[in-house]
């Protein structure tokens, strides 16, 4: 496991370094910047889904769905990152303490 973590960390570091070593002309093709943007958004969107409904035995709906909804409302109200995360945790923990989800 540690080997994979080190490899993942080094891969991310090498990507950062590549930005400083590659010729700036790479950015002349608008598809490069746009595709990178969309891969980032696509990954994060999929991670939201997996983290919210993923389970050991297939998809499951539980307190995490409520946590995500509360987080979305907090983001609409322009709450800072830390507050959004804390509200997500509090919602899931609160519902479970009440015996739901």
């Amino acid at each position: 496991m540690t080997g994979w973590l080190v490899a993942s960390a080094l891969a991310c570091l090498l990507l950062k370094l590549a930005g400083y070593l590659l010729p700036t002309a790479v950015l002349a093709d608008p598809r490069v910047g746009r595709t990178t943007d969309l891969v980032t958004a696509g990954c994060l969107a999929a991670l939201v889904v997996v983290q919210t409904v993923g389970g050991d035995a297939g998809p499951a709906l539980d307190a995490r769905v409520a946590a995500l909804l509360v987080a979305a409302v907090a983001l609409l109200l322009r709450a800072p990152f830390v507050v959004v995360v804390l509200l997500g945790a509090a919602t899931a923990a609160g519902l479970r303490a009440a015996g739901i989800g």
Binding site: A9, L47, A90
Partner: protein
């Protein structure tokens, strides 16, 4: 130095961002990493989205190679930031490696927000170093805390992780086309989740997003005569 508005802006971003290193540290140990493994990711990988992705994939029971792939895909954008920052910072020798290491969403954003060339440089270094110091300190704190908490579900840490990914995605949804691709990626994840091994839905979604980005964006026009 503290009179520079870019430095002050950079440092305040550093403190604010560093604060949520606590949530990363806690989620990492809740996902089964040791305290020092969590700290290793913050020190060497040092890019929040990828770090949360590795931990998210492992927490869901995904294979380490799936965590590697998700982290790398999310880290691609840092290469683009580097391409944009290199002509502005023009780092030489060991400073180039340091600049690369500190290239993240926050340092790139603070630098890009400055009109003056010197301020753009100062802003980058202040935000990068500020986030690095705070992020690593709070990761350690969060990891120790997460280790002591016991069952992560009881404390709602899985809900916190879902909220964290949504908060990272949120500012990108302002652009309508990005929001549409994010929705398509989410749909791919929903459809593949019941049938694919853990970690694979994220990769499938990323590939769909990449394909949409590459083929729907017009390449640069050749110079017309």
């Amino acid at each position: 130095m503290l009179r520079s508005p870019a430095v002050r802006q950079g440092l305040s971003v550093g403190v604010a961002t560093g604060l949520y290193g606590i949530s990363f540290g806690a989620l990492a140990t809740a996902a089964g990493l040791s305290v020092w493994q969590a700290c290793l990711l913050s020190a060497v990988m040092f890019t929040g989205g990828s770090q949360f992705a590795v931990v998210g994939v492992l927490a869901a029971g995904g294979a380490p190679v799936a965590g590697f792939a998700s982290a790398t895909l999310l880290g691609l954008r840092n290469a683009v930031y580097g391409l944009q920052l290199a002509p502005r910072l023009r780092p030489r020798g060991w400073r180039r490696l340091l600049a690369a290491h500190l290239t993240i969403d926050e340092s790139a954003a603070v630098s890009a927000a400055q009109d003056d060339a010197d301020e753009a440089r100062w802003g980058f270094w202040a935000a990068g170093l500020g986030v690095f110091v705070c992020w690593n300190a709070t990761t350690l704190g969060g990891a120790v805390l997460g280790d002591a908490l016991g069952d992560p579900r009881r404390w709602g840490l899985d809900g916190a992780a879902a909220a964290a990914f949504l908060a990272l995605l949120w500012p990108r949804l302002r652009r309508r086309e990005t929001a549409a691709v994010a929705a398509a990626a989410a749909l791919v994840a929903v459809l593949t989740l019941p049938v694919a091994p853990a970690g694979v839905p994220v990769l499938a979604a990323a590939l769909v997003a990449a394909a949409l980005g590459w083929w729907r964006t017009r390449p640069a026009r050749r110079d017309a005569p």
